[in-house]
């Protein structure tokens, strides 16, 4: 990237190597989780960076730059998902039903009440977990274990912060189906963290 005179008065964060490396890593990680394809992810991030930086916008801080780059990346990812039809369609939804019955059976009895062994308890010291590298490995593994259509909508909602209305629009999903997808994603994530992290520490 060449310095532009328009950037001269503000600090140019794009020249901060450590910051840019971190940002790139975060973007690649995020995109890989969304697209399940290393090469597609690298390309999308590359394009997002080029798109963001050629805009010659001045950024008032690192946070502003990061928000801007992620906003562009978000659109790139949605484009790719659309092109590749990687996202939820009603047929993939149905294909996952078997998997679903599994979670239901394990969590609730036939009347819809918690099975005793599956009843959520208190997660101890969640603040300590956040500081632990091991925890984040478990978290990422649990995310990866979700069916692709669950993790895509979950990440759009919780990582990018799209509203449910926006996700419905982007993915051609109706509101009820989306609520069910998000619910199932959370249910599965919860169980996975419970078994592989919180129960282990007890």
């Amino acid at each position: 990237m060449t310095h532009h005179s328009s950037l001269a008065q503000n600090h140019d964060w794009t020249q901060d190597q450590a910051f840019m490396n971190d940002l790139r890593q975060q973007m690649v990680k995020f995109t890989k989780l969304q697209l399940h394809d290393e090469q597609l992810a690298e390309d999308a991030v590359q394009e997002a960076f080029i798109g963001a930086l050629k805009n010659q916008q001045t950024f008032t801080g690192k946070a502003a730059l990061k928000t801007w780059v992620f906003a562009i990346l978000k659109h790139k990812i949605i484009d790719i998902i659309r092109k590749n039809k990687r996202l939820v369609t009603s047929s993939t939804l149905q294909n996952n039903d078997e998997d679903q019955i599994d979670v239901w059976d394990k969590s609730f009895d036939e009347r819809g009440y918690w099975h005793l062994s599956e009843r959520p308890n208190t997660w101890l010291q969640p603040e300590d977990s956040v500081a632990s590298d091991q925890f984040w490995l478990v978290f990422e593994t649990c995310l990866n274990a979700l069916p692709a259509n669950y993790s895509s909508v979950y990440m759009m909602r919780e990582f990018i912060g799209l509203t449910t209305e926006e996700i419905c629009q982007q993915t051609n999903t109706n509101k009820n189906s989306l609520n069910v997808l998000l619910y199932r994603a959370r249910l599965k994530l919860r169980v996975c963290l419970q078994k592989n992290w919180f129960d282990q520490g007890a």
């Binding site: 975060q26 609730f108 984040w136 919780e158 449910t164 249910l187 919860r190």
Partner: protein
């Protein structure tokens, strides 16, 4: 009376939209009697916090 399955679905939706008064009252009553769903509700919020931190974490292997 709604069951735990329905309550947990509402607790998930509470992460995405504002619940209406009737829904809030239903949840209050149920969770005051059901520790499992009460904990589930707290865990839903914690899950949101974890998720908001996730992208900021560097892979340990890359340190």
């Amino acid at each position: 009376m709604i069951n735990c399955k329905e309550v947990t679905k509402l607790l998930s939706e509470a992460q995405d939209r504002k619940l209406n008064l009737a829904e809030k009252i239903t949840l209050k009553i149920h969770t005051s009697m059901c520790a499992g769903c009460r904990n589930f509700g707290i865990q839903m919020k914690q899950l949101k916090v974890f998720s908001s931190h996730f992208l900021d974490k560097k892979d340990p292997s890359e340190k």
